[in-house]
């Protein structure tokens, strides 16, 4: 394909070659340091409005597999790689072909390391655009582009849908759910109903769930309506809750904490995360753009359960009074380590105990 350029709002230009969809695209440029799992990453709705830079230089090596999507329609705005494994193995769809079908532009042969260093040393989020010609017009367009802050609305389900099974009844509130969460619940035979994030506490509790999951999702938790926080404040009082990613940030806010934007987003799976109570270190898939301010956590309501050792950021919270807890990272991997999968078992245990208590 023809020459394409990644341009950044600070005026820098990275030459490359296009693949995937030949469209012009805009978004915040973030990098992911995972060394495997590009398909799961690209299809995670958390990348809505974002151009993903893969630091692992060879991408596309295993084509596209039918059973590891993290969403049906990927929300990422673009894919930036050093080397694309351009081949057709006659069995599976190639990454390039998939992106083309999904209307996602890609750019390859980019000095992704130079790009990562640029993103890392910028003062804040950096926006970019993949364009055919890096001229003034392209830059004007980039500067004029206003990225929506309605990301959750873009990716979350507008309608409820069931994922039936025979076990515990669980409501998943969808803020931009990735399939991995449903997979973990299915593995535990949960009878799941996925509800839109706009659902009220009453609508949720009317389903009489054993527990509620507040899903991960893209964007700024502060841009969501306050009613979401009210919903969480109500639900957590009644049933066990597990909150993940964006859900974790909202859970923290619902319980009085502040959330701030990180100057550099972190996407990867190699940071040491300490579980405070056991003093154990685990690794997990992380996609963090916002963090819960540690100082703002109301210790009378919440306590910190996990911290990232590299930046000391809050990675997990638990409610002192209610059977509710949250994690910033993604248990269940996809992609990423499985070490924190037992958090879903813990959620199951909480649901067991809660039912027991009610019958007592």
């Amino acid at each position: 394909m023809a020459a394409r350029y990644l341009i950044l709002e600070d005026g820098s230009v990275y030459a490359g070659e296009g693949f995937g969809a030949p469209a012009v695209t805009f978004g915040e440029v973030v990098f992911n340091t995972s060394m495997a799992g590009y398909q799961e990453i690209i299809t995670n709705p958390i990348y809505d409005n974002e151009l993903i830079v893969f630091t692992q230089p060879n991408i596309g090596n295993v084509s596209i597999h039918r059973n590891i999507y993290e969403s049906i329609v990927p929300a990422a705005k673009g894919v930036i790689v050093r080397d694309l494994a351009a081949f057709d193995d006659h069995q599976r769809q190639s990454l390039a072909h998939y992106l083309e079908q999904m209307n996602i532009p890609g750019i390859k042969n980019v000095d992704t390391r130079a790009l990562v260093k640029k993103i890392r040393s910028a003062d804040g989020p950096i926006r970019g655009s993949i364009v055919p010609v890096p001229d003034d017009h392209a830059f004007d367009q980039l500067h004029a582009t206003v990225l929506t802050n309605q990301q959750v609305a873009q990716v979350a389900t507008p309608k409820p849908y069931p994922n039936p099974d025979v076990g515990k009844t669980v409501v998943v509130v969808d803020f931009g759910l990735k399939n991995g969460t449903l997979r973990e619940l299915s593995r535990r035979r949960c009878n799941v109903t996925v509800l839109p994030y706009t659902s009220t506490a009453e609508q949720i509790l009317r389903l009489d769930p054993d527990g509620v999951v507040f899903s991960s999702g893209p964007g700024d938790p502060r841009s969501l309506k306050k009613s979401v926080l009210a919903m969480i404040q109500e639900v957590e009082q009644h049933v066990p809750c597990l909150a993940i990613g964006l859900g974790h940030e909202l859970f923290a806010m619902a319980n009085g904490a502040n959330v701030t934007r990180l100057p550099v987003e972190h996407h990867g799976m190699n940071h040491p995360i300490k579980e405070i109570i056991t003093d154990q270190i685990v690794y997990a898939s992380q996609s963090v753009g916002y963090e819960v301010e540690r100082e703002s956590v109301d210790r009378s309501k919440l306590f910190v359960t996990y911290v990232d050792l590299l930046d000391n950021s809050v990675q997990g919270l638990r409610h002192r009074k209610y059977p509710a807890f949250s994690v910033q990272f993604f248990p269940g991997g996809a992609p990423g380590p499985d070490e924190t999968d037992p958090l879903f078992d813990e959620f199951m245990d909480l649901m067991d105990q809660q039912r027991g208590d009610q019958f007592d």
């Binding site: 995972s34 050093r82 042969n109 390391r113 990562v116 590299l310 996809a334």
Partner: protein
């Protein structure tokens, strides 16, 4: 003052086909780390080429002793160590430690075993025990049975189905592993295996040949924290020894799910074996069935550990040193360039690293060059690049088999039928067979079936072939040149395809600003501002390598291990750099050997992990402006090109070359008079005597003793003749005069040559003199004869030392005369 705790390290012994400089590298790093942590270190080894034995910054008490339980027990009595380290001496150290442990000495003296509990050592030493553990963990393993005769073996083989693999239980020195297809082959293998077994038993196993080989490297600390250091993938399938396989880091053809499954299993195993430090777990992965088998578990240092360290920038050996000193991963503080918690952050890469084995087929007459379950390669190169192709080409660049040498021509001339055979039964040059097959239009699908190599790699080679065709078609196109460089293709290759001089390519590159850029090997893929001062090159936007300073010397390493000087070259290079640093020089080092002590930060201020080709070195010189360039012995061709290009502008220092490493065989007693000549005076370094070979008919310089058994007048005759010969030379340096004695008691000069690296290493240990330091001092005009004489007089040598070279012939199952050009390693011993 209280006495410091002591750590006793069991050395690796002579370099051999299975191990080499990687253990020396790790010993240096761990020794130095333990010293920093307040330990005194003791190393027992009988390897004259060991750098660690002669590096006081890593080892306080070096002991040249035979690697036996007795030596270890004696040292325990002498030093009362608090810790014994068995993970730096390969499998043998585990076996030795088990014997030592069974003697009760460790319990008696309350000595802790670093890295592994005793029960784990027993399991690693005994596959049957290890298999029980694996079964308890529900780890999928191949079917395996221990038998003591052919009938039982046949029964097992029929049950699991041919082919099966036969191995001796508790093998004697020689390892054997054979894959057999039918009862006849089985019978042969079983009887040979029983012969080689100390218990008279063999293991018969299900064959996993053809599956994908995956290697996981795991780190664990005493608190149970576990991290994945690397998931590596062999391009070659199971059936080809992992050490002979082309290895890629990180794995390229696995789904995340598969990576995680094997990671979990490697963690479970490491936890179960209660390992503190590293564990290398090998898997066979069956892609069709989406199922893996655990095939090997090695909780000790090996080639994969050092390769991973160099490729990721994560300082594995140093971290393990901290763990042995009792620290936890989360508390380890590494050097200035690395951040606070790097030790506990899993390394990630924004580069690809390829480990390419180097085979001795040009040096040895090996009829069967087919790759199999027994290792045949003697060394390896590392290529780091920003794409798989670039990494692969860079690994190949310094490999002796060029793309267009005789071997390639040969492959181009064979029939399709013969080519099929080469694809099914690959040899050391399989990359060229694959490339030739692609040229002939074999599809990736066909090739996958023939070779069991993953589609992805074949597709990459196909891109390369297309690239070559494009380069050949578009002669002298700057755009194509730019693309070729981006893919890692060397100037000389493009020049060859365009039929022009290398210099024209260099000019064209300069004209069009096609510039090499260097990137740092950092363990966080650029996420954090971390520095390891290890660099590799590529052709991208930004360069990260800044000049090291105005007092630097660029040292060009000796490349992959080859037969001849073996690791003795690395010994000399490492020690020369050590001395240069003492004199205030910054040492900048270029090498592409992932198994070499020279890569240690103890000797180098900055490293370029690059093939030893002139275009790269020229670019490094352009950045660094060193005051001198030091070229090691293996690279005589490079040296010549250097002289042509830089002769006038740059000071060139060359180390002894192995061109002079002729084999001298004599029916008369052979003597070697060794001396240092500073241009004015001759300083005798003593005379060694060649020992008789096994045939007892000839003397060869591959086995020798120090001093000779000469008496009286003969001593004077020899030294006078030697001294006279050396005095007649013009260039200062270390020299060796070979003399043969006749029946009349007269001596004749056979040849005079620079002292070979093997002898530099040996004599340094015998005389307790730092001879590489002498080389360094001569080179920088800091040599003082007075100092040398003083240090020689301080410690008169009263012991006799024996040196015996080791050859790879047994391991390769060939018979050849043991000549100096085929030395793989050596053993030494002091006798009273």
């Amino acid at each position: 003052m209280t006495e410091k705790p002591k750590a006793l390290i069991i050395g690796a012994g002579s370099d051999n086909l299975q191990q080499g400089g990687e253990l020396d590298f790790a010993t240096l790093e761990i020794g130095a780390t333990l010293q920093h942590a307040g330990y005194e270190t003791i190393l027992v080894d009988d390897n004259p080429f060991s750098t660690a034995l002669d590096t006081s910054r890593a080892i306080n008490y070096p002991h040249v002793l035979p690697l036996t339980a007795k030596s270890i027990l004696d040292l325990i009595d002498q030093y009362h160590p608090t810790m014994i380290v068995p993970t730096l001496g390969g499998r043998r150290a585990f076996e030795l430690l088990q014997t030592v442990s069974e003697s009760g000495s460790l319990t008696e003296h309350d000595i802790k075993i670093a890295g592994v509990p005793e029960s784990t050592i027993r399991q690693v030493n005994n596959p049957v025990l290890l298999n029980q553990t694996l079964r308890r963990l529900k780890a999928p393993t191949k079917k395996i049975a221990t038998v003591a005769n052919y009938q039982d073996a046949l029964e097992v083989a029929r049950k699991v189905g041919f082919p099966v693999v036969v191995r001796p239980v508790l093998p004697r020195s020689l390892r054997m592993r054979r894959i057999v297809q039918d009862p006849d082959e089985l019978q042969q293998a079983v009887s040979r295996g029983i012969e080689l077994s100390r218990s008279g038993q063999v293991l018969v196993q299900q064959s996993l040949a053809g599956l994908k080989e995956i290697e996981a490297l795991v780190m664990r600390d005493a608190s149970g924290t576990m991290m994945l250091l690397g998931m590596l993938e062999d391009v070659d399938p199971i059936g080809i020894h992992a050490g002979d396989s082309i290895t890629v880091l990180p794995s390229q053809t696995l789904l995340d799910r598969q990576v995680q499954d094997m990671r979990n299993m490697a963690f479970a195993l490491t936890r179960k074996l209660r390992i503190v430090g590293i564990n290398h777990v090998q898997f066979a992965f069956d892609e069709q069935q989406d199922r893996y088998y655990v095939i090997k578990n090695s909780p000790y240092f090996d080639r994969i550990a050092t390769f991973t360290e160099i490729a990721t920038g994560y300082p594995i050996s140093r971290v393990v040193g901290h763990l042995y000193a009792g620290e936890l991963l989360r508390n380890i503080r590494l050097d200035h360039g690395l951040m606070k918690h790097t030790a506990v952050t899993e390394p990630v890469m924004d580069r690809t690293a390829v480990r390419l084995p180097v085979f001795p087929f040009e040096q040895l007459q090996i009829d069967n060059q087919k790759l199999g379950t027994q290792k045949k390669s003697v060394g390896s190169t590392i290529g780091i690049g920003r794409s798989l192709i670039e990494a692969l080409i860079k690994a190949v660049a310094d490999y002796q088999l060029g793309w267009h040498n005789g071997q390639v021509k040969l492959i181009q001339g064979i029939s399709d039928g013969q080519l099929d055979q080469l694809l099914i039964h690959p040899q050391g040059d399989r990359l060229y067979s694959l490339i030739e097959a692609i040229r002939r239009g074999y599809s990736e699908k066909e090739l996958t079936e023939l070779t069991k190599i993953d589609f992805y790699y074949l597709a990459q080679l196909k891109r390369l072939v297309a690239m070559q065709q494009e380069i050949q078609k578009l002669q002298k196109s700057p755009a194509v040149l730019k693309k070729a460089k981006y893919w890692g293709i060397g100037d000389s290759k493009v020049a060859e395809w365009w039929g022009v001089d290398d210099s024209q390519i260099a000019d064209l590159r300069q004209q069009h600003q096609i510039n090499r850029t260097f990137k740092e090997v950092d363990p966080s893929a650029g996420e954090f501002d971390q520095h390891t001062k290890s660099f590799y090159s590529t052709f991208e936007l930004t360069n990260e390598s800044l000049p090291e300073g105005d007092h630097s010397i660029l040292v060009i390493g000796s490349g992959p291990r080859r037969l001849g000087n073996g690791n003795a070259n690395d010994y000399v290079v490492a020690k020369v750099m050590d001395e240069l640093k003492i004199h205030g020089y910054r040492t900048i080092f270029v090498n592409d050997n992932p198994s070499s002590p020279t890569m240690s930060g103890l000797f180098t201020d900055k490293r370029y992990v690059e093939p030893l080709v002139i275009e790269t070195i020229a670019d490094i010189i352009r950045i660094e402006h060193p005051v001198a360039v030091l070229i090691s012995s293996n690279e005589s061709e490079l040296l010549e090109r250097f002289h042509n290009q830089y002769g006038d502008q740059l000071k060139l220092i060359s180390l002894p070359t192995d061109d002079q490493l002729e084999d001298v065989v004599s029916t008369e007693p052979l003597l070697e008079y060794n001396a240092l000549f500073d241009g004015q005076y001759v300083y005798p370094l003593g005379t060694t005597a060649a020992l008789q070979g096994d045939d007892e008919l000839s003397y060869r310089t591959v086995a020798k003793r120090y001093p000779t058994t000469l008496k009286g007048a003969a001593v004077k005759k020899v030294t006078d003749l030697g001294e006279q010969t050396v005095r007649g030379l013009t260039t200062p340096g270390l020299y060796q005069v070979l003399l043969s004695g006749d029946a009349l008691g007269d001596y004749h000069v056979e040849m005079t040559r620079p002292l070979p690296a093997t002898d530099i290493a040996f004599l340094s240990k015998v005389l307790q003199l730092d001879l590489p330091a002498v080389i360094a001092r001569l080179a920088i005009n800091k040599f003082s004869g007075k100092l040398l004489q003083e240090s020689m007089q301080n410690e008169p040598i009263s012991r006799t030392a024996l040196y015996r070279a080791i050859f790879p012939f047994n391991a390769l199952q060939i018979r050849e005369p043991p000549t100096a050009l085929k030395v793989m390693g050596a053993e030494m011993q002091f006798i009273e």
